[in-house]
């Protein structure tokens, strides 16, 4: 069953306005516009970002753009998430890491409402995503951006038209203004000169930058990056790292980065989550995680080939296997 069918629509279209739920606006002082980078490096043994402590304790959703609580998702016989808790503070760059196959991309799809979880709350900017109707979801997604691993550029139209696509779909701006906006966005990723190329003519790094330009075309409040560094050469990687950091600061966005690339990710993330077996096994600033008490977290942060996450796929002992036929 395709994921979008699962997000079937029901009920009446209740208009969604992007912004804080009204009950949160009562306490504007509790808002943290941006988690100070310095505040993250508290190493008092508690493996938690300070903002999380403060907001979680008082149940203030205002600080966090995304709050996931007790998420459970089963695909076939496999349990992908089993009681996952996660928060993304407004204005932060939050990284989500973990071994391959732990369902990081699935989590992004759940946040985007493309997949419905089996249970748990997924609050995005005050809206409980799994409970939204199809129309409400599309409304909510106008303020979300997602950069796909495959870039997902529309292959039948040019670079320019790709970036113009969300603008044309959601606004009634005149052509000249769309042109200016597109060139502005393309300039931000350094590809203003490539506007007339077709997606098939772009290198991997270029198509990801075009996809990024398309993602920021409507100035979303929140961008999810799915493996933005995978398969990039070192230069392209450096470009992307600085783009993500730069965009987050200049446009006051919130970012959620899913990645394997520990060094690049650690260099830009305010806080990190490490997921394994459907749960969060470590959370905190990159520095905190490097000194994490859990050997599993340390193995991941240091990239050791063997450890609690075994090198070998579960099997009989090698001797038994080899000698089995004899």
């Amino acid at each position: 069953m395709p994921v979008w069918d699962r997000a079937a629509s029901r009920g009446q279209g209740r208009p969604i306005r992007w912004g804080m739920p009204s009950h949160c606006k009562a306490r504007p002082s509790a808002r943290l516009a941006r988690v100070p980078y310095a505040a993250m490096s508290v190493s008092d043994g508690i493996v938690r970002a300070p903002n999380r402590l403060s907001c979680w304790a008082t149940h203030q959703v205002t600080d966090n753009l995304i709050e996931i609580e007790g998420l459970r998702f089963v695909r076939g016989d496999r349990i992908i998430f089993d009681g996952l808790d996660l928060v993304v503070p407004r204005g932060s760059i939050t990284a989500l890491m973990g071994p391959s196959g732990t369902g990081k991309t699935t989590l992004l799809q759940i946040i985007g409402g493309q997949i419905r979880p089996d249970s748990g709350r997924v609050i995005v900017d005050g809206h409980d995503v799994p409970k939204l109707s199809r129309d409400e979801l599309f409304e909510l997604r106008r303020n979300m951006g997602m950069l796909f691993q495959s870039s997902a550029l529309f292959t039948d139209i040019s670079v320019f038209e790709n970036v113009a696509f969300p603008l044309r779909a959601h606004t009634n701006l005149p052509d000249e203004m769309i042109r200016d906006l597109v060139l502005m966005k393309l300039n931000a990723v350094g590809l203003r000169g490539a506007r007339d190329l077709m997606p098939s003519q772009l290198s991997g790094g270029m198509s990801r930058r075009v996809a990024l330009a398309r993602t920021i075309a409507l100035d979303p409040k929140f961008i999810m990056y799915d493996e933005p560094f995978t398969g990039q050469d070192p230069i392209a990687m450096g470009v992307l790292v600085s783009l993500i950091r730069g965009l987050n600061e200049s446009l006051a966005m919130t970012s959620l980065v899913v990645s394997h690339d520990i060094h690049e990710t650690a260099s830009i993330a305010d806080q990190m989550y490490i997921i394994s077996d459907g749960r969060v096994i470590g959370e905190g600033s990159p520095k905190e995680l490097r000194d994490h008490p859990s050997t599993m977290v340390r193995q991941f942060m240091l990239g050791s080939p063997d450890g609690p996450v075994p090198f070998h796929y579960p099997a009989d002992t090698f001797l038994d296997d080899v000698m089995g036929d004899a």
């Binding site: 069953m1 493309q114 599309f138 997604r141 106008r142 796909f148 550029l153 779909a169």
Partner: protein, 260 residues
């Protein structure tokens, strides 16, 4: 025994599920009101689906018309009724061969292309990306293809019929020497506007709906891998062909069934 029964049950459930999803796709795509720019999308699809199918339609039509005239002539000439060749060819084409052959060619040429295109869009996350941009792919991608299929099939069938009759006239009249007056006169005498031409076009319209529906659904519902797309493309051609032939029989029964 129980195992086979269970397999049959699973198979039936799969089919019912697929039918349900296919209906949901159809209704959700057709429900949306036209928006700005939709006409451009539709034009592009009519080009992709209709204009690009023209060559194969015209070539097949001409050779089928020519062959029908040849075969009809040899048989009818034995009883001295070679002038009826025009009428015979026209009736066979207008009532049956025109819509059916156009439908089969359309499924193979345009249907498979649509499935592969949508399947590839799904595999490269283009549909997902569109959803995440708050644009409904059913409206943006699926609906124009459905409409284009419904518009193109009757037009292609009309072109097929005209070219095939033209081809039969070239072979029958110009080459085999059937009297032109008898050829066209017999045709005009026996062919009825609604009974033969109209009902043939109704068939074409129904085939257009069904083929484009199967094609977009197979693409939309495909497994987003190279293998999944190839399976979906094959399914489109097989299912549409079977559907065209079965529906042709049903429609003939319903529309021409009042023999008395």
């Amino acid at each position: 025994m129980l195992r086979y029964l269970r397999l049959l049950g699973q198979w039936a459930l799969d089919w019912i599920g697929a039918l349900g999803r296919a209906s949901a796709v159809w209704f959700r795509s057709m429900a949306g009101l036209p928006r700005r720019g939709d006409m451009t999308l539709l034009l592009k699809q009519v080009y992709q689906i209709g204009v690009l199918s023209l060559i194969i339609i015209v070539l097949s039509a001409f050779s089928i018309g020519a062959v029908l005239a040849l075969q009809g002539y040899t048989q009818l000439a034995r009883v001295g009724a070679e002038e009826s060749v025009g009428l015979g060819v026209a009736l066979v084409l207008l009532r049956e061969l025109g819509p059916v052959v156009t439908g089969l060619l359309f499924a193979g040429r345009a249907g498979s292309a649509v499935t592969a295109e949508i399947g590839l869009m799904k595999a490269t996350d283009q549909l997902s990306a569109m959803e995440m941009m708050g644009v409904d792919p059913l409206h943006r991608i699926i609906a124009p293809r459905l409409w284009a299929g419904m518009i193109c099939m009757p037009l292609l069938t009309a072109i097929f019929n005209a070219v095939a009759i033209g081809g039969s006239a070239i072979v029958g009249v110009d080459w085999l020497g059937v009297d032109a007056g008898g050829f066209w006169g017999g045709m005009q005498d026996g062919v009825q506007r609604w009974e033969d031409i109209g009902k043939g076009m109704v068939k074409a319209g129904v085939f257009g709906v069904v083929i484009s529906w199967i094609a977009v659904f197979q693409g939309y519902d495909s497994t987003p891998t190279a293998e999944g797309i190839s399976v979906a493309t094959t399914k489109t051609v097989v299912y549409s062909s079977v559907a065209v032939l079965a529906l042709d029989f049903l429609l003939t029964l319903v529309m021409y069934g009042d023999f008395n």
